[in-house]
Point group: C2
Chain length 506, copies 2
């Protein structure tokens, strides 16, 4: 019988090493020489001593996990899509008051489970549970608690709450890991409020200068910066945001797939081997404000008409190159029904499985966009149009995330954990896949072994209030996450000598 | 020598009829039997007694007019385009604090010139200078003091300040008109803040229900209504906004052309014979929010891609039908760089010289837009595109302004005034034309004889901070406006018997 986490005195749990004492209220079954989690001959179980069977018997608590997910969704509740209590989306933009409340829950809960929490200068929160060798970096699971403005309850939130559930299972079962383990909540993963996604893991990995991140201005209404909001909500931590100041041994991330492939092929677990390439651009089109009634089509430099041609052209290029092209933000000036817009700014998100395809797309955009804005008929863009005055185009590259390949040892830990969790059906119910979306794991993978676990979401819908993942799929993913972390902890111990080249492992 | 208006005691001027007394400080030249405006054998001149020569010698004061224009531009000053003091645009949205200040200037100035001011329930301000027959409706000149968010110093403002200058010239020269004359400032002509243009002359003419106008919600940020803002700035007048409560005998409007035709053909005065047709639509495209990285092109219902196709298609239809199609506002949801927008709303402004062309455009839009949103390849819209999920389209007609033909007597008054002002060059320097833009004169023409006077603006640029009209062109336009009003006053008197069918003339 597992002891509910809340009954464990956290002061005791905070002590590292073997000195923990199991409260005597626990039932003890004398089965000397054979260990289980309801009955043990010792007060403490070490991961390196776990058999496959014992590992498999460590179970996440599905209803407790779901309670945590929905409990945290009281902060920043979004649009309703169904009639049940939990059938709403989420709107918890990073560093808002709602995000602060979710962060406080995370810190309070992980501290009560015996973790030490550290906040770095990007507001990333690292909750670390001590192991035996606490002079070494922790093995982490993690994701993010911020959401899109009209997002759902699973993207990011599942990964963090599954990490909390992992801590609860370890506490319930008195498991002591060889190395410290932890859960990380990354700041502004979505890039929805401050427009660089995964910006804080990007700073941690040294890929994005902290100054750039701190100076990022919110999309709406545009007055606050990341630094000002971190400071306002009290999450501008003292620890420098850096893999050097706060190293990780590994990073595992559980996430909904956000696409339709697992569901369409009736799979339960996606073993994520890497992440597709993406580049984010900002395109600015400068024309001239003129009156809609008095300016003939020839005398116009219509920035919105030009932007429309460019959005359509980006889609045609994506179609021709088996890539993705998407515009999620478009703003125009001055914004009056009888004024031809003189200025349009829009985002352009280009993705493909390979670096070379994204590079080809980039080159085509850079060569075609100015031609189209000048009135040239590229791929039919200006077919049957009136030739007006040219518009000026500027193309700015905001983010560049090359193809990411995850670490074979992490992938292997996930594969073996999925096999353990699914048993005989493992082969039929798992598939290796590439992530279409960027995740904080892209940046962690630059500095430590990393991989991800995907679970199916209904109709592949994500970044939408109706985003949904079945309870049993959430729990199955959390189960694989838990085992993956424990397997990696064992691998670290087994390879103490041979992995000397991995600075954060030993 | 003309007496500066400010030296006239306004209490005296407010008295109607022949009892006004010219201050004895004025120099009197005894030239009995011959009248002029620097020397007169009588203290009072009546318009019906003016010879062509005397009419022509009534001159507007160019520098005083320009001072008034730029003085009023201190309220709501916009973007700078040049280095001189007056080289900025305007941003004076209707019923803002800046608009209130401009209104207060208008009321103070016209009252000081002997006018009685009336504010109606749409905040329209009518400043009326008494004539001899004050039991009849006044002849008006007018326009509007509100501007586009990034508008210029001439659109609307020229028409109102030229009206004020007209009052000053009449006062300076002790002209007494047969009928009362006035200047009107119409509310929210631009439709930039509350999205129906010419809404308040529309209510006055009985074309737009007052309730609709009062409930109009501002475009940004969307909390205030016209009624709440009228009330807030103290311009919700007691007089019902209606041609029945406040009739006009005629309406003359001086305006910059806002297009390039006068400048391109080296003309100085446009004699406006009518206004082209326009219709305003709101188009709503409903797709589905999805993640940009994980949703393949086939699985998307991309509302912005669809909207881009529709904007481009409207331009192609306009090209094919010799019409105009313009989108000045486009908003999308949810607005995040890595979320495919699930909802886009945009404005569509269709114009053409004839009702039948606009009707054809309407029918094409109504039939083609849903097809394009469903993936059909209309005029190449979906050529080389990936066939995704369909989007839903709703098309709402917001405004419908049929072709307007101005009144022949007003057009004739303008033509003769232009001939008088331009002398021998009149034929070379004037042209009859149709207005591309809507103006309050469209609505007044439904209820009283109306016409307009256009002056050239640089490169046809309008609704832009750099909108510019030469000082001599402003003054020439004001000169033609002044004369047109006086000529119409004389016509009213001459036709007292024969015009019995014109209810507001006699």
């Amino acid at each position: 019988m597992a002891l509910p986490a809340r009954r464990l005195p956290s002061a005791t749990l905070r002590l590292a090493g073997k000195s923990w004492i199991r409260p005597c209220t626990l039932r003890r079954i004398a089965s000397i020489g054979e260990r289980s989690f309801s009955a043990s001959s010792r007060w403490q179980l070490h991961t390196k001593e776990l058999t496959e069977e014992l590992l498999g018997s460590l179970k996440v608590n599905q209803s407790r996990l779901m309670e945590d997910i929905h409990h945290t969704c009281q902060w920043g509740t979004g649009l309703r899509w169904g009639s049940a209590r939990t059938e709403t989306g989420m709107s918890r933009l990073s560093l808002t008051d709602a995000d602060k409340q979710a962060r406080e829950w995370f810190i309070g809960t992980t501290q009560a489970l015996g973790c030490k929490t550290t906040i770095d200068s990007m507001g990333n929160i690292f909750a670390v549970r001590p192991g035996i060798r606490n002079d070494k970096p922790p093995t982490f699971v993690g994701s993010h608690l911020d959401t899109q403005p009209s997002g759902g309850r699973y993207d990011g939130i599942l990964g963090v709450t599954a990490g909390v559930e992992m801590l609860k299972v370890l506490a319930d079962n008195w498991v002591e890991t060889e190395y410290p383990v932890g859960v990380v909540n990354w700041t502004n993963e979505e890039g929805a409020r401050f427009p660089i996604s995964m910006v804080s893991s990007g700073v941690w990995s040294g890929s994005i200068p902290e100054e750039t991140a701190h100076n990022l201005r919110e999309v709406h209404p545009g007055n606050a910066t990341m630094a000002s909001e971190l400071s306002r909500i009290g999450y501008l931590g003292q620890t420098p945001c850096s893999y050097e100041s706060f190293p990780m041994a590994a990073h595992f991330e559980l996430h909904i797939e956000q696409g339709p492939l697992l569901e369409m092929s009736n799979k339960k677990i996606g073993i994520v081997t890497g992440v597709q390439v993406y580049r984010w651009f900002t395109i600015k089109v400068i024309g001239r404000d003129t009156h809609t009634g008095t300016t003939d089509l020839k005398s116009r430099a219509d920035a919105l008409l030009t932007a429309s041609k460019l959005v359509l052209h980006s889609h045609r290029l994506a179609t021709a190159n088996s890539a993705l092209a998407s515009t999620g933000i478009l703003t125009l000036k001055p914004g009056s029904p009888n004024t031809v817009p003189g200025e349009v700014t829009f985002s352009l998100d280009i993705r493909a499985p390979t670096d070379s395809t994204v590079e080809t797309m980039t080159q085509l955009i850079e060569s075609d966009f100015p031609k189209i804005a000048a009135g040239e008929n590229v791929l039919g863009s200006n077919e049957n149009c009136t030739s007006g005055l040219p518009c000026d185009i500027t193309i700015t590259l905001d983010s560049d995330s090359p193809a990411t390949t995850f670490h074979p040892d992490c992938i292997s830990a996930v594969t073996r954990s999925a096999q353990s969790a699914l048993g005989e059906d493992a082969k039929a119910l798992t598939m290796e896949m590439t992530s279409g979306a960027g995740h904080d794991s892209v940046y962690t993978s630059k500095r430590c072994p990393t991989s991800m676990i995907f679970v199916p979401c209904r109709e592949g819908v994500s970044h939408n209030p109706a985003e949904f993942c079945k309870e049993e799929d959430c729990a199955l993913g959390a189960q694989v996450l838990l085992q993956s972390l424990l397997r990696f902890d064992r691998i670290r111990d087994e390879r103490r000598v041979t992995w000397k080249q991995e600075p954060y492992i030993l």
